[in-house]
């Protein structure tokens, strides 16, 4: 196991930020912690990267204990925190050289590993890090986290607030890094990114709701889900919420995802009911559950 987390808990005063969390990440795996702000993702990252002590539980990373062998861990992991934390007053090149020196290596020695990413910001290597755009900062931070060729890479919400195009590119970069044998633990609040991971842990309020492959997680959704649309979305939601047999009603893009309490649910009956409520262009079609459906069901 590359990462092994056993029953860790951490409280800040009265807040249970992390509550009896356990999971394992295999060598070479791309593992995702999926959950909203405040779920405890950052606290877990800080414990795993030896920056914070857990109140309870044990953790090993790359075979080292986070408490006893913290120095070894720091030499073998790369960490990209959620908040940009490079030196704003140093140039792109200086930041990279700084991190390489700290870890007793040189840019040249491990250039192959970062080439793919660094090449995109190399034209701006004389620019101060503080003056870079969001996407470029992210690429620099990733280069700095990789320059000592870590065994395990920790990425805390690397795509938060990033547009869909840059997000897609970022995940493609991660896939390529994974192929180079690096174990990656990444967190994100975007549920649609879960499918890019080998396995994921869904997390909310400091607790893990489920751990599995993205495919298995959606398979476990207990109900039949229907896509419903009509001419007036607002009315449709209001009416469905008042429908006595509804189990869940959630807006999902251009549709509402609907599940019914009854096992013998007949969509035609619902169609008739909606027509009686003066809705038009009603469509009801069976659909597949997504990670987000599953998350909401588990978080209920």
């Amino acid at each position: 196991m590359s990462i092994s987390v056993k029953n860790i808990s951490k409280s800040f005063k009265k807040v249970h930020a992390v509550n009896d969390v356990s999971f394992e990440v295999k060598e070479g795996e791309l593992f995702g912690l999926i959950g909203p702000d405040g779920a405890g993702k950052t606290t877990i990252f800080r414990i795993l990267t030896t920056l914070l002590f857990a109140d309870k539980g044990t953790v090993t990373v790359a075979g080292f204990d986070v408490v006893k062998d913290y120095k070894d861990i720091r030499n073998h992991v790369g960490y990209m925190p959620g908040r940009f934390s490079l030196y704003q007053d140093l140039t792109v090149e200086e930041n990279l050289a700084f991190f390489a020196t700290i870890f007793g290596t040189t840019i040249e020695e491990n250039y192959e590993l970062i080439k793919d990413i660094y090449i995109q910001i190399e034209p701006f290597k004389k620019r101060r890090a503080g003056k870079l755009s969001g996407g470029m900062k992210q690429k620099l931070a990733l280069s700095c986290a990789l320059i000592h060729k870590p065994k395990v890479l920790f990425l805390d919400e690397p795509t938060t607030g990033v547009d869909p195009v840059s997000r897609k590119e970022f995940w493609e970069m991660l896939k390529r890094l994974q192929q180079k044998g690096i174990t990656i633990l990444v967190s994100t609040p975007y549920m649609d990114e879960a499918s890019m991971c080998d396995r994921i842990a869904l997390i909310q309020d400091g607790k893990i709701l489920e751990i599995n492959t993205p495919q298995e997680i959606v398979k476990k959704f207990p109900k039949a889900i229907y896509n419903i649309s009509a001419n007036n979305m607002y009315k449709l939601i209001e009416i469905l919420k008042e429908y006595e047999h509804n189990y869940s009603v959630y807006p999902f893009g251009e549709f509402v995802h609907y599940t019914d309490k009854r096992d013998d649910f007949n969509p035609n009956e619902l169609l008739q009911f909606l027509e009686e409520q003066q809705l038009q262009n009603i469509q009801i079609n069976k659909t597949q559950a997504t990670i987000e459906d599953t998350f909401m069901e588990l978080a209920k």
Partner: protein
């Protein structure tokens, strides 16, 4: 009803030195419409929005917001709109109630109006248990819902929302959109930016900005037809990748 334009923008441009951040954008938004303002990071959305809410002066072009001119009447614009940014929520070290009172006061509401609004909001958002708690102690989802309601305190004609749901859990994110639908249904115009492409589908119409220009503007359905794809995410990827 619904025909009246509440936002009219014509060739609006903003330059910073040689750099054209917003390049002659034009569009109209109708009263009560939910208008999605999309674009990649750095496409110029925030700069455009700042001009629309009267805090940045355009280099050229025209814009009328709630019938007020962005050059001549920026202060009237501010009184007639609500604005909710992704970062600034509310004052963390004031209670929910104090925040409502404070912002109500800023917007010129009377004591009676503020008290009435406080009672209304408490019921609507089920705030009974948290009304006297410090805002800083509440989960992000709560903060965003309260901050949306606070931005609506003075019954603005338009509300501008800058990535209101970033990082919010999926259930609260949907409750938030139900609040948006409700406000729109009551006649408030919604102008919203987001990186969640499923939320783009909730909008009546969306515009997509690329390098300072609006490259597409229509209903989500028509945009998907136009680009021959199934989701707004694919529309976005096609456009922004050129």
């Amino acid at each position: 009803m619904g025909k009246e334009n509440i936002i009219e923008v014509e060739n609006l441009t903003k330059m910073f030195g040689d750099f054209t951040a917003v390049n002659a954008i034009s569009f109209k938004v109708k009263k009560g419409e939910i208008f999605g303002f999309l674009g990649a990071n750095g496409a110029g959305k925030t700069t455009a929005m700042k001009m629309l809410i009267g805090i940045a002066k355009p280099t050229s072009g025209n814009a009328q917001i709630a019938n007020f001119d962005v050059y001549k009447n920026p202060d009237d614009i501010k009184k007639n709109i609500g604005y909710m940014s992704q970062k600034f929520a509310l004052y963390d070290d004031l209670t929910v109630k104090e925040n409502i009172t404070f912002f109500g006061g800023i917007y010129g509401l009377s004591r009676t109006q503020i008290n009435k609004k406080t009672i209304e909001l408490t019921e609507e958002l089920n705030l009974q248990e948290v009304i006297n708690q410090l805002v800083g102690s509440l989960p992000l989802g709560w903060k965003q819902k309260i901050s949306f309601s606070v931005a609506l305190l003075h019954n603005p004609k338009i509300i501008f929302l800058d990535e209101p749901t970033s990082g919010v859990d999926p259930i609260t994110r949907r409750q938030f959109w139900e609040m948006i639908y409700k406000a729109a249904n009551n006649g408030t115009t919604i102008f919203v930016t987001t990186h969640y492409m499923d939320e783009a589908e909730y909008c009546d119409r969306v515009s997509i900005m690329v390098n300072g220009k609006i490259e597409a503007l229509d209903t989500p359905k028509k945009l998907k037809e136009l680009f021959k794809v199934d989701t707004m995410n694919d529309v976005f990827l096609k456009l922004a990748r050129e």
